[in-house]
C-alpha cells in the first residue's frame, strides 16, 4: 500500500485537553502540551505518570478519550492511522526487530510496502546502516539474534529512519542497555540528532539522560503535566517539590569530597579484556559476542588502552592489531578522590576510566554512573 506523505516537517504538535481513562483511574488527565518543531522534548516522570501513554497518543497507538492531538494543525483523528505512523519514526526499549527477517529486510520493510524497487531499498538500507555505524556488507544479511544488544538498538534506530520521517517517538530507547553502552549510544544519538535535525519526543525515567539530550523537559506525575521548560529553568525554578527532587543536583555532590574512587567504581570483569595481538576483525566478532561497545586492550598484563567497536569496524579490511589501534585511557588508583577523578575526566572529555590497583585492573569508572550513585 502506497501512502502519500503527510508532512515534510513539523511546525508544531499540539496536545489539547488530552484525557485517557483506565477503568476508574486516569492514565492522563486533561493534559495540554506543545511540541515545537525541531526540538527534542523529553517526557519524564515516575512510573505510572502517563508519559508513555502520552507518547502513544501522538501516533494513535492509544486513542484518547477526550481532547485532541493536532500536528501542523491537522487533527490526527482525521488521518488514517497507518498513513500517520509511516510518517513517524518509532523506537522502543525492547526494539522488536522481527526475528524472521534479516537486518536489511527489517529496515527495508516499510519502504518495500510503499512499493520502492529493490535497488532503491538496498541503497536506503546501506545508507542508514552506515549512518548508525554498522558496516552494511557485514550486517545486512545477518539475523537480529546474531547481533549484540547495542547493535540491535542501532538497527532499531535505522529502521525508524527508513522513511525519513520528520518526527520521531522514542520510548526509553536506551533503557535496557548497560550503563557504558547506554552512555556511548547517547553520545552517538546526540550526533545523529544534530545531523538530521528532526522533531523528537523522547520518554525516559533517567534524569541524566534527560539533561544531556533534552532541549526541553516535561515532567509528569500521576497523569498530569507538572512543569515543562529547558533544563536550566527546571533546575533553577522548580515548580514544586517533585520537580526539585527529580532535577536537584545539590545533593549529588554533598559527599563528594569524602568519597574514594573505589566506592563508586563498577567492578572490572574479564569480559572487557582483549589481547594486544588480536586482529581488528576478530575483535569485532568477539565484542559482538560479549555485547561490548568498549573494550580494554592488554599486552599480557600491561594496559595499552581502550578500543571502541565503532572505530574497529571502520578499519575492518585491514588486518591491524589492537596494539596499534588502542587509544589511551585515564587510570586512577582506588584511593584517589572521586572529585579529583571526575574533574580529570571532565577536562579530557572522557566518560570512562580504568581503576588500577598497582598493576591489576580492579574497576571501571563511568562518569554518569558515578553521578547516579551519588543521588
Amino acid at each position: 500500500m502506497q501512502t502519500e506523505r503527510l508532512f515534510d516537517r513539523i511546525d508544531s504538535i499540539q496536545l489539547k485537553g488530552i484525557t485517557k481513562k483506565y477503568g476508574e483511574g486516569f492514565a492522563v488527565k486533561d493534559l495540554d502540551l506543545e511540541v515545537i518543531g525541531g526540538e527534542l522534548l523529553i517526557l519524564i516522570g515516575p512510573s505510572g505518570s502517563g508519559k508513555t501513554t502520552t507518547l502513544r497518543m501522538i501516533n494513535r497507538m492509544i486513542e484518547q478519550d477526550e481532547g485532541s492531538v493536532t500536528i501542523n494543525g491537522i487533527d490526527t483523528k482525521n488521518v488514517d492511522p497507518v498513513r500517520l505512523r509511516r510518517n513517524i519514526g518509532y523506537v522502543i526499549q525492547n526494539i522488536g526487530l522481527f526475528p524472521h527477517m534479516t537486518i536489511g529486510e527489517n529496515i527495508g520493510l516499510v519502504p518495500k510496502l510503499e512499493g520502492w524497487n529493490k535497488k532503491e531499498i538496498e541503497e536506503r538500507v546501506k545508507t542508514l546502516l552506515e549512518f548508525v555505524s554498522l558496516p552494511p556488507d557485514m550486517f545486512m544479511n545477518r539475523y537480529p539474534k546474531q547481533l549484540s544488544g547495542g547493535q540491535q538498538q542501532r538497527v532499531g534506530l535505522a529502521r525508524a529512519m527508513a522513511m525519513d520521517p520528520p518526527l520521531f517517538l522514542m520510548d526509553e530507547p536506551f533503557g535496557a542497555l548497560d550503563p557504558i553502552l547506554r552512555k556511548q549510544l547517547q553520545k552517538e544519538f546526540l550526533k545523529i540528532k544534530n545531523e538530521i535535525n528532526r522533531t523528537i519526543v523522547f520518554v525516559t525515567h533517567d534524569i541524566e539522560e534527560a539533561l544531556v539530550l533534552g532541549d526541553r523537559i516535561a515532567i509528569m506525575d500521576q497523569g498530569e503535566l507538572v512543569q515543562v521548560g529547558p533544563p536550566e529553568e527546571l533546575i533553577f525554578n522548580p515548580a514544586n517539590e517533585l520537580v526539585a527532587d527529580i532535577v536537584d543536583n545539590q545533593r549529588k555532590f554533598k559527599h563528594m569530597d569524602t568519597l574514594k574512587v573505589k566506592d563508586l567504581m563498577s567492578p572490572f570483569e574479564d569480559k572487557y579484556v582483549l589481547q594486544a595481538k588480536t586482529e581488528a576483525c576478530d575483535a569485532v566478532d568477539e565484542m559482538t559476542k560479549r555485547d561490548l561497545e568498549t573494550a580494554f586492550v592488554f599486552d599480557e598484563d600491561a594496559l595499552l588502552g581502550q578500543v571502541e567497536i565503532v572505530d574497529l569496524m571502520k578499519c575492518r579490511h585491514r588486518e591491524e592489531k589492537l596494539s596499534e589501534l588502542a587509544k589511551p585511557i585515564k587510570t586512577f588508583q582506588p584511593m584517589d578522590s572521586v572529585a579529583f577523578a571526575l574533574s580529570e575526566m571532565k577536562n579530557s572529555g572522557e566518560y570512562l576510566a580504568i581503576v588500577m590497583n598497582s598493576k591489576h585492573p580492579v574497576g571501571i569508572l563511568v562518569s554518569d554512573e558515578v553521578l547516579l550513585k551519588l543521588i
Binding site: 500500500m1 501512502t3 501516533n59 497507538m61 497507518v82 498513513r83 500517520l84 505512523r85 509511516r86 513517524i88 518509532y90 522502543i92 525492547n94 522488536g96 522481527f98 526475528p99 524472521h100 520493510l109 516499510v110 510496502l113 529502521r159 525508524a160 522513511m163
Partner: protein
C-alpha cells in the same frame, strides 16, 4: 524369513509399484487439499474470533467418528473409488492444521505485532509479513500430524476400492497370503516413517528460520 527373490515375486504379483503410485497420489491430493482448507480455516477463525470455538468444536466432533465409519458414511455421496477416502483424509486433517494455524497466529509474541502496528503496517500487512511467517513452525507441526493421519486413512481406502497399498493388504487378508500381508504392511509402514521423517526435517528447518522459542 522371506528371501529377496520372494519379496520381488510378491511385489510383482500384487502390482505393488502401481499400488504405491496410487497410494501416494491419493495421499498427496488429500494432504494438499487439507493444507489449503486447514490453513484457510485457521486464518478465518483467527480473524473472526467468535467463530473459533464453534468451528473447532465441530471439527473435534468429526475427529471422533471412527475412520472406517467416516469412509462408509461418505460412500453413498461420493461412490466407490478414491473419493470417499480422500474426503475422509481431508475431514480428519483439517482439525490439526486449522487448530495449529489458529494457535500459532494467536500466540505470536505481542511485542512484534505491537511494533508492526506502530511502524505503520496495516492489519493485513501485519498478518502477511509478521503473524503468518512467525506461525510457520507451528503450522508445519499441524501438517505433520495430518500427514500421519492421512497415511493411515489412505491405507484403509483399500476396503472401498480406492486402490493403493490398502488393496494389497485387503487381498492378502481375504486370500490368506501371509507374505503379501507382510510385504505390503512393512512397506506401508516404512513409507509413513520416511514421510514423517521428511516432514520433521522441514519442521525443524522452519523452527530455525522462523521460530522464536
Amino acid at each position: 524369513m522371506l528371501s529377496i527373490q520372494a519379496i520381488a515375486n510378491v511385489w510383482e504379483r500384487n502390482l505393488m509399484t502401481m499400488r504405491t503410485i496410487e497410494h501416494l497420489h491419493m495421499f498427496s491430493i488429500a494432504l494438499l487439499l487439507s493444507i489449503i482448507i486447514g490453513v484457510s480455516v485457521g486464518i478465518f477463525i483467527y480473524m473472526k474470533p467468535k467463530t473459533a470455538n464453534p468451528v473447532l468444536n465441530f471439527l473435534n466432533i468429526v475427529e471422533t467418528i471412527p475412520d472406517l465409519a467416516l469412509i462408509v458414511l461418505l460412500l453413498p455421496i461420493l461412490k466407490l473409488g478414491a473419493g470417499p477416502t480422500i474426503a475422509a483424509c481431508v475431514l480428519y486433517s483439517i482439525l490439526p492444521i486449522a487448530r495449529n494455524t489458529y494457535t500459532g497466529l494467536k500466540n505470536v509474541d505481542e511485542q512484534y505485532t505491537y511494533v508492526a502496528q506502530a511502524i505503520g503496517l496495516s492489519p493485513r500487512e501485519a498478518l502477511l509479513k509478521v503473524r503468518i511467517p512467525m506461525s510457520l513452525p507451528l503450522i508445519a507441526g499441524g501438517i505433520r500430524i495430518a500427514l500421519v493421519f492421512c497415511m493411515g486413512v489412505v491405507t484403509l481406502g483399500g476396503l472401498v476400492a480406492a486402490g493403493g497399498l490398502g488393496t494389497v493388504l485387503q487381498n492378502g487378508i481375504q486370500l490368506y497370503q501371509k507374505d503379501a500381508i507382510l510385504v505390503a504392511g512393512l512397506w506401508t509402514g516404512l513409507l509413513a516413517v520416511l514421510l514423517d521423517g521428511f516432514a520433521g526435517l522441514i519442521e525443524k528447518k522452519l523452527h530455525e528460520r522462523y521460530g522464536t522459542w
